[in-house]
């Protein structure tokens, strides 16, 4: 009898204590912190992409804000508290985690997941719960439609068509200057981003009167790229374009170097703007073109690269990393301008305001909701991946042509 009584007492005490603890924790947290959550691939096939472009920038931004004392919300300093989920590279898991962030963790803001498909998958949820969605790693031709359907969504990297058109018009200009002919060889990966860019590329190249002397696709995970590069070389094109993913970008480049495939323009896809590419190819990267590019002389960009390296141990990639970080700076400034963490007020600031970021001062494009004017075509020049197109953007470099021949591989 006494024993069970004592048992009951202990149980009761535990209940009370845990209830108290549960009450105390959020009460303390709510006053001084902003809860920001995200679901991202830390494991599975998307982990490398998210690990290069998205996650380090989230971490860097949170660190920067918290080191400075927190977000300045209506004169009060509020530190960021992070709620992070691993979506294991499965979109269903991403959707579930975002739902949980919104309904159970009740976070103040949600940062978007990595990749185009995931952002499309969580778009309805962000919309339903009223969170702004600053998708920094999504390239989609439906950006304008999506922005109309989900007014708080931002498709920052723009459309595949823009990248294709930017490249084609650059090639057109170079042809006009007599630097290249009109033979183009194109290889592309048969997966979301590669398909979108390849079809846009085909259309743009044809429109500008280029001849496609080689045009083939290969499946995801192709490990032997030698036949593709050999066939492209046999077509002796002036321009080689590969809309590829990082592992095949490196494979194609290595094979081209090996067999001495030296077209005047060598353009490869995702991965060229990664610091890995420079580490892997060193001087041989010189002259290779791809998506992205930076204003190398810009002080803010230089500081950003140095801080990224210091905080995460690695340099950022020269494309979507900067866009992602700029979007976080915009979010921060929108919160501070709104002077509140009310989602509607912040969304209003985002859609109407001008922001001062590492990509310069900008307002989001009204129709496609991208960051206007950042570089869509870049080239490795003197050890830095500099932006070429748009040519009138601050810091735009002149293309170096023809691409220097690949040095002998080691």
């Amino acid at each position: 009898m006494t024993r069970s009584l004592a048992g009951r007492a202990i149980t009761l005490a535990c209940c009370i204590l845990s209830a108290l603890a549960a009450l105390a924790a959020p009460a303390r947290a709510q006053e001084t912190t902003v809860k920001i959550g995200y679901a991202i691939a830390k494991t599975g096939p998307n982990a490398p992409g998210a690990g290069v472009t998205t996650l380090p920038n989230y971490q860097l931004w949170v660190k920067t804000v918290n080191d400075a004392g927190g977000l300045n919300v209506g004169g009060k300093r509020m530190k960021i508290e992070v709620v992070e989920y691993d979506d294991r590279s499965q979109s269903e898991e991403t959707v579930r985690a975002v739902e949980r962030l919104a309904t159970q963790d009740k976070v103040d803001f949600i940062l978007p997941p990595w990749g185009t498909a995931n952002n499309l998958a969580v778009g309805p949820l962000f919309h339903r719960y009223g969170y702004p969605q600053l998708a920094g790693t999504s390239v989609t031709d439906r950006a304008a439609d999506l922005a109309k359907r989900w007014p708080n969504s931002y498709w920052l990297l723009g459309t595949g068509g823009e990248y294709a058109e930017a490249l084609a018009s650059l090639l057109d200009k170079l042809r006009g200057e007599g630097k290249i002919g009109d033979k183009v060889a194109m290889a592309s990966i048969a997966d979301g981003f590669g398909i979108e860019l390849a079809s846009a590329g085909r259309a743009a190249l044809t429109k500008h009167g280029f001849k496609l002397v080689y045009d083939e696709t290969y499946p995801l995970g192709t490990q032997d790229l030698a036949p593709i590069v050999s066939k492209a070389k046999a077509a002796s094109p002036d321009v080689f374009i590969a809309f590829s993913y990082p592992p095949d970008t490196i494979g194609i480049s290595a094979q081209a170097q090996l067999i001495g495939f030296n077209p005047k323009v060598f353009y490869a896809g995702v991965g060229v703007a990664f610091p890995l590419y420079k580490e892997r190819f060193k001087g041989a990267a010189e002259g290779v073109m791809s998506l992205g590019g930076i204003h190398a002389g810009n002080e803010a960009v230089k500081v950003y690269i140095a801080r990224h390296k210091e905080a995460t141990g690695r340099e950022p990639d020269r494309w979507a990393s900067l866009v992602t970080y700029a979007s976080l700076q915009a979010l921060q400034q929108a919160i501070e301008k709104a002077g509140s963490i009310d989602k509607a007020a912040v969304s209003k600031e985002l859609s109407s305001g001008t922001f001062d970021t590492i990509l310069g001062k900008f307002a989001f494009d009204k129709t496609t909701r991208k960051i206007p004017g950042f570089f869509t075509v870049g080239q490795w020049q003197n050890g830095e991946f500099v932006g070429l197109v748009p040519g009138d953007a601050p810091g735009a470099a002149q293309p170096v042509l023809p691409k220097p021949e690949w040095p002998k591989a080691n």
């Binding site: 691939a41 830390k42 494991t43 599975g44 096939p45 982990a47 490398p48 998210a50 690990g51 290069v52 590279s89 290889a187 048969a190 083939e216 696709t217 290969y218 499946p219 995970g221 192709t222 490990q223 032997d224 030698a226 036949p227 593709i228 050999s230 066939k231 046999a234 990082p246 592992p247 490196i250 494979g251 290595a254 094979q255 170097q257 090996l258 067999i259 001495g260 991965g271 990664f274 890995l276 580490e279 892997r280 190819f281 690695r314 002998k408 591989a409 080691n410």
Partner: protein, 290 residues
């Protein structure tokens, strides 16, 4: 063009074979369908990367260090993790199911460790990416090394299994563990040896392919899948079968990419796989070759 396709196919096939030979030993003799196999391959790739970036020791010299380490680790894994499963398994079927579940867990443990230590990034380095002229076409030296290693190991293991006493014991266990025990073969020792040898082969494959592929901590399952296809095509437990099946697969992919469309390589792989399963479900060299 023809010679291009043949060489490219042989080097690719050599890589497939090299990766698959360890799995065929582990599955054929030790009866462990090791789903963490690809993770072991990738762990060895990272070890090679670490060696060359931190100490400047090239991957070929690194083999001397990494392969014995993997052998020892695999032996340890077998003794500690898998032997309890072997002990309580009533028959081969339960052992296979149990080992699939256990190694599925092991997959995440190894992958998690790699993610913690190396992060989720793509990793690549350049080694022996020198052009070599063979029959008028250019191949990279590292691919030739992979092909040569696969041939040497494939034939070497085949001879060792056929000609030595230990090899005979391993084959006996593969055919019938109960009968093998009756003729005084220490079945658990033999199975452990096969599992450890499989681990050593996986590490060899991992170190060598790291010279030419871009890898990341989460890519292991790709290797497990490819290896499994090769193992089943070649006949479970047959090292020479794995070598030949790997080469056939590589040649098929290369020919389709060169004379057809690179988009059809996967379709070709699976069509070949399906055909073999339909007409020779025990694999090209199933049973007979052991």
């Amino acid at each position: 063009m023809l010679i291009d396709a043949i060489l490219s196919g042989l080097t690719l096939g050599g890589m497939y074979a090299l990766i698959a030979m360890g799995l065929t030993l582990q599955y054929g003799v030790a009866r462990i369908l090791n789903l963490a196999y690809g993770e072991v391959v990738i762990a060895a790739s990272f070890a090679a990367y670490l060696l060359i970036t931190a100490t400047g020791i090239g991957p070929l010299a690194g083999l001397l260090l990494i392969v014995p380490a993997s052998f020892a680790l695999s032996w340890g894994i077998y003794r500690l993790l898998l032997l309890p499963l072997v002990r309580r398994a009533r028959n081969r079927g339960t052992l296979e199911v149990d080992s699939i579940l256990a190694t599925f867990g092991l997959l995440f443990v190894v992958q998690g460790l790699l993610l913690i230590v190396f992060g989720g990034n793509y990793t690549s380095y350049s080694y022996l990416n020198t052009a070599v002229e063979v029959l008028g076409t250019t191949v990279s030296a590292n691919r030739l090394v992979v092909l040569a290693t696969a041939l040497i190991l494939g034939v070497g293991f085949y001879l060792a299994l056929m000609r030595t006493r230990t090899g005979t014991a391993l084959r006996a266990v593969a055919v019938d563990p109960v009968a093998a025990a009756l003729v005084a073969i220490d079945v658990r020792w033999a199975a452990g040896l096969a599992f450890a040898l499989g681990g050593a082969l996986a590490a060899t494959g991992g170190v060598l392919v790291s010279m030419m592929l871009t890898f990341s901590a989460t890519i292991g399952v790709v290797f497990t899948m490819k290896a499994l296809i090769v193992v089943i095509m070649g006949g479970v437990g047959n090292v020479l079968g794995a070598l030949i099946a790997g080469l056939i697969l590589g040649l098929a992919e290369s020919f389709v990419a060169t004379f057809g469309d690179p988009g059809l390589t996967l379709a070709a792989t699976y069509a070949l796989f399906l055909a073999i399963l339909l007409f020779k479900p025990e694999g090209l060299f199933g049973r007979a070759g052991r």
